[in-house]
Every structure is written in C-alpha cells, then in structure tokens.
C-alpha cells in the first residue's frame, strides 16, 4: 500500500530554483493531499520530498476497510514538466537570427542537447541546450526578453520511459 512519488535530488532542486521553489513545493504538497483524497483507500505511508524538505505521513495499516468503493479509473497524474532555465543574465532569443525560424516550437520533440534558444550576454551568444528529452510544452520567455539567471525559458514534458 505504499505510493511512491518521484524523488527530486538536491541538484534538481536548485536548478528548479528558477521555477520558484515555493511554487514547486506548494504543488508537491497539494499533490500529496490530492493523492490521498483521490485514493480509494488510506495509504499506509506517503512521502514528499523537495531537496532537504520532506513531508511524510503514515496511516495505521488495515484500520479502515472500504466496503463499497468501485474500482475507479486511476487519477490522471499531475503534469510533471521540466524547465529549461537561463544559465546567465541576458537576452533570450528563440531563433538564430532575426526573421529566422525559431529553434523549437510547442509540440516539437527534442533530445538531450537539442538547441532550444540563445541567451545573449556581454555580446556572447550562449546556446541553450535541452538537458532532457521530451516534448516542448510551453515557451515561457518571450523572444528578445531580458532574463535573469535561473529564469525558466521553456517547459518540457519529459519523455516517459516506457
């Protein structure tokens, strides 16, 4: 009766920093509550962890027998999008040059290492490469927009492993 939620490593936690750690944690916490509410039966234990932070709940085993719950369809899992963040302060460009086709569009399949944009800083063009394979879900930074270190540029729905 143990449900596992994806663990996030401290390294990921910091790279997600740009996404807003607060938001991420709120989402995770919400997910826990949602999962508990959605489950036909009280779990024996649930863990949510974000970097060094964790929430952990244990329920006594077998105390509540749910007599009538029909086998409901499993809840749609919360969308787990990965953010590609700005590695430097600079200007984000979606395309290699003005007027050219953007590196990627929403819906594009990308691989690890696919260039998804440029951040120009101190006249240097820093290519932004995907660190995860998947599908571009949303492009959150505007073209030619000023970005800070760690700011999300686009969101990727990671490819599911099977």
């Amino acid at each position: 009766m143990t449900r596992t939620f994806p663990e996030i490593t401290p390294e990921e936690a910091t790279t997600l920093g740009g996404l807003g750690a607060e938001d991420a944690m709120a989402i995770l916490g919400h997910s826990l509550a949602e999962a508990v509410r959605a489950a036909p039966q009280t779990p024996s234990r649930a863990v949510v962890r974000f970097g060094c932070a964790s929430i952990e709940v244990e329920w006594p085993v077998g105390t509540r027998v749910v007599e009538s719950a029909p086998a409901a369809a499993p809840p749609e899992p919360a969308e787990d999008l990965a953010a590609v963040v700005a590695p430097v302060v600079g200007t984000f460009y979606r395309a290699p040059e003005p007027g050219a086709r953007p590196f990627v569009e929403v819906g594009d399949e990308i691989e690890v290492g696919t260039q998804v944009g440029i951040v120009e800083a101190m006249k240097l063009m820093n290519p932004i490469l995907a660190e995860e394979a998947g599908v571009v879900a949303e492009i959150v930074a505007g073209d030619a927009e000023s970005v800070e270190y760690g700011q999300p540029l686009l969101l990727v729905r990671p490819r599911t492993e099977g």
Partner: protein, 448 residues
C-alpha cells in the same frame, strides 16, 4: 532637494553593505539595482532595492565575483554606476576597467591607482617614496628561499609573511623561529595561489604589541584630499577585526597628526580618489604604513558617527565628479564611537561559521545606537559567505560611556536559531577586559 548625481546605481554586493549602499542611494533620490545570487533572493537589500537581478547561484565565483554577469545586469537595467561595497570585486582593477569600457562609472579609485596599491609590496615602496614611514621588510615580493633568508636577516625575527594580493586576514603567517621560516613561506605561497590566484608574498617585521591604526581619507577629482581622523582596530582575532573605535585611545596628538598627514600625503602622491583607508602599525611612538584599502571599510560607521559624514554619499558624489562636500576645517570629530562585529560563529568550535535559520533576531536600539544588519527573524543565513550578522555602533561623549553603552547594546541583542552561535559573548568579554577599558591593548589582546 538638488538633482541626484546619478539616476540609477547598481550595487554589486550583498549582506549589510549592500543594504547600507541602497539606504544612502534612497536618501539621495537615486534608484537602485541589487544583483544577487539565488541564496540571497530574500535578502534585505533585495527587498529594499528598486530592482533586483539574479545573477547566479550561491557560490560567489559564479555570482558576486562574476564580472560579466554584473556588467550585463548594469547595461540591461540602465545603471550608470556600480558600487562594489567591500570584498568581492571592490578592489579588482580589472573589474573597474571593464566598468569603464562599458561606460559605467565604477565607484572607487581609478583602476591604475588600485592596481598599484593592490600589490602590497609595491604599495609600501610607493608610500616610502612619498615619505611615509614603512615597516622594515622586503622591498618587493620575495620569490626565492635565498631572498627570504636574506630579508629576514636584515629585518630581524619575528617576521610576518603576507600574500601580496591578500586581504581580510587570509594568507598570512607569523614566523618567530628560523626553522619555521621556510615551511611558512611555502604554506603562505600555496594559500596565496589558491585563494587569490597570485602566489607572490612579501615579508615584513612583525610587531608583537602593535596597535592597528588606520586613517580614513576622502579625495575628489578636484585636488581635495581630506582625512576624517583615525580608527583603532587593534582588537583582532587571527587578523580579523572584531572591535573598531574612533578616536584611537591614548594616541599622542602629535603622532595622530603625523599619521593623518602621512595618509593625506600618500593619497595625494598616488592620485587617489574616493574613500580610502591608510593602515598603520603603531608601537609606542613608532608608526609604520602597512597598506591602503581602496574601498569603503566594514568599520566606516565609527567615522560616520564621530564626524556626521555619510561616507557612501561622499563616495557617490566623488564618483560623479562632484567635489567633496566639506573642507578639512569642517571635519570636526566629536565624541567617541565604537563598532562591534557580531558574527555567526561558534566559539566552541574555534569560531567556525554557523549558518542556519534565525528564529529570533531583535537588534538593540535606543539612544546613540546604530545597527547595520541585513539579518531578520526567519532568515536563513546562507553558508556561502562571510559570517557577519550585524554591526553594532554606539556613540557617546567619552570612551567610558561608549563602552558602557556598547555593553548595554550587546546585552539586549536577541539572536536565536537552531545551531546559531555568535561572537557576542566574546565581544562582551573584551569590553569588560581591564586592559581594553584602559585603552592599553594591542593586536596581541586575543592572541593568548
């Protein structure tokens, strides 16, 4: 209210000094941009600034020591000038030059002046040539064991070996015996290479019972060089200042005049501009120049308290090409000011920094007490930076009252958090020490 000298200034620092600079900018009607690492996202300076730009992760190399990111942030936000605070890039001539090349005013002396004074062996030569007394030592950096032994013979033991590019008490070793000489030389060079990326070291006579006295100068681009009196920073732990005060207790007036005049002469000789500090060692009636700090100092508030002059304001005005806003005659130090540095360090673990969550943080207040701090209850002290939590500065008409006031102020400071210890008790012990109260202490006070 007159036009501000700049419309927007970027503060390339963190902690209490970033907040300090933002405060003066606000008072001058200058907009501020604070650049910060991810670890300082919730800092007091970021909260108070008009704009904030996150430039990198917690590690200083990738944020506060990363010139390109800072310049980029300045260009992007339209900042006309950069205030570097102290530490980080504040004394880096290359950074000052990059600012210049990008059309941004660096608030500090000219890069050439900084470069010349930044090499401590060279600075000593320069000041000796300007007629300042210098500690006997190596004329230049010592690079071979032969030079080392020869210079040591000439100046006599004990000696202190220092990194030419050093600062903040790091990269120093005191040698009292001949057989410690070569090992100390090797260690210091290795440290200097590791910490400052420059393994040059120099050597000077070590004064066991000297007092550390420094003179604050202000110099503008119109030929005016003022001094704002001296500070005594003799209470040190491993070359880290803990308590600073002005004026220096029991300093003979003639010697005080010699030091302040030497500082003014030295600053004029190198074409210094901005706020700077000339450091001296004093033992009895003897005095010797050690180095110049080309920036605002941590302990500048004691000078502000006795003179009423906002030093950061003067720095900004000078950088904008304005004249210093007063004459030497108008600088009339009054009373006594003392500063104590309250650090998040654990005295039981040899003063190791102890970052952590502050669950309680109520600084002292009331009559003639100033607190410069970026900390607040609920703040997580990050592990990446120095351990300074707060500077407590008091003023009083005389030194006895100033010490009593400081003891009162430290006594009411409430700081708590899991795993957080501070230097407050050590400071209070020093303030109660008869030799300190008599003003007869030297840098040896905490060496026992």
């Amino acid at each position: 209210m007159s036009e501000p000298p700049f419309r927007k200034i970027l503060v390339a620092n963190r902690g209490e000094i970033a907040l300090r600079v933002v405060r003066t900018c606000r008072e001058m009607g200058i907009r501020t941009v604070v650049v910060h690492s991810t670890a300082d996202r919730d800092s007091a300076a970021v909260r108070l600034a008009d704009e904030a730009v996150q430039i990198g992760p917690g590690a200083p190399r990738k944020s506060y020591l990363y010139p390109a990111m800072i310049i980029e942030a300045a260009l992007r936000t339209g900042a006309e000038a950069i205030h570097p605070g102290y530490g980080f890039l504040s004394e880096d001539p290359d950074f000052a030059e990059i600012c210049d090349k990008n059309g941004i005013v660096f608030i500090g002396p000219h890069p050439d002046v900084m470069a010349r004074l930044g090499d401590k062996a060279a600075a000593r030569e320069l000041m000796a040539a300007a007629g300042l007394p210098v500690v006997p030592g190596s004329a230049e950096a010592v690079s071979t064991p032969g030079e080392l032994v020869e210079t040591t013979k000439r100046v006599g033991l004990p000696v202190i070996i220092k990194a030419a590019a050093g600062g903040g008490g790091r990269g120093m070793a005191v040698v009292r015996d001949w057989d410690e000489l070569l090992p100390a030389f090797r260690t210091t060079r290795a440290t200097a290479r590791g910490v400052f990326g420059d393994d040059r070291v120099y050597l000077e006579r070590y004064w066991e019972n000297a007092r550390h006295i420094e003179v604050q100068v202000l110099a503008d681009n119109h030929g005016t060089v003022l001094h704002l009196g001296e500070r005594d920073c003799s209470v040190q732990r491993r070359h880290q200042k803990l308590i600073e005060e002005s004026p220096a207790p029991l300093l003979p007036p003639a010697l005080r005049d010699r030091l302040t005049q030497a500082a003014v002469r030295g600053a004029a000789a190198v074409g210094y501009t901005g706020a700077g500090t000339f450091e001296f060692l004093v033992e009895g009636d003897e005095a010797a120049f050690i180095e110049v700090n080309c920036r605002i100092q941590v302990e500048h508030p004691v000078t502000e308290a006795v003179t009423g002059i906002d030093l950061v304001r003067e720095q900004i005005r000078i950088a904008a090409g304005l004249p210093v806003s007063l004459t030497q005659d108008e600088v009339r130090p009054n009373g006594v000011a003392i500063e104590c540095r309250v650090n998040a360090e654990d005295p039981r673990r040899d003063f190791a920094p102890c970052p952590g969550l502050l669950t309680e943080f109520v600084p002292p207040g009331g009559q003639f007490v100033r607190v410069d701090t970026h900390a607040y209850a609920g703040w997580q002290v990050p592990p990446y930076y120095d351990s300074l939590l707060a500077k407590v500065i008091v003023w009083a008409p005389d030194r006895d009252q100033a010490i009593a006031r400081m003891r009162r102020a430290l006594g009411e400071f409430r700081i708590d958090g899991p795993g957080v210890s501070t230097t407050s008790e050590l400071l209070q012990d020093v303030l109660a020490e008869p030799v300190f109260r008599a003003g007869r202490h030297s840098t040896a006070l905490l060496r026992k």
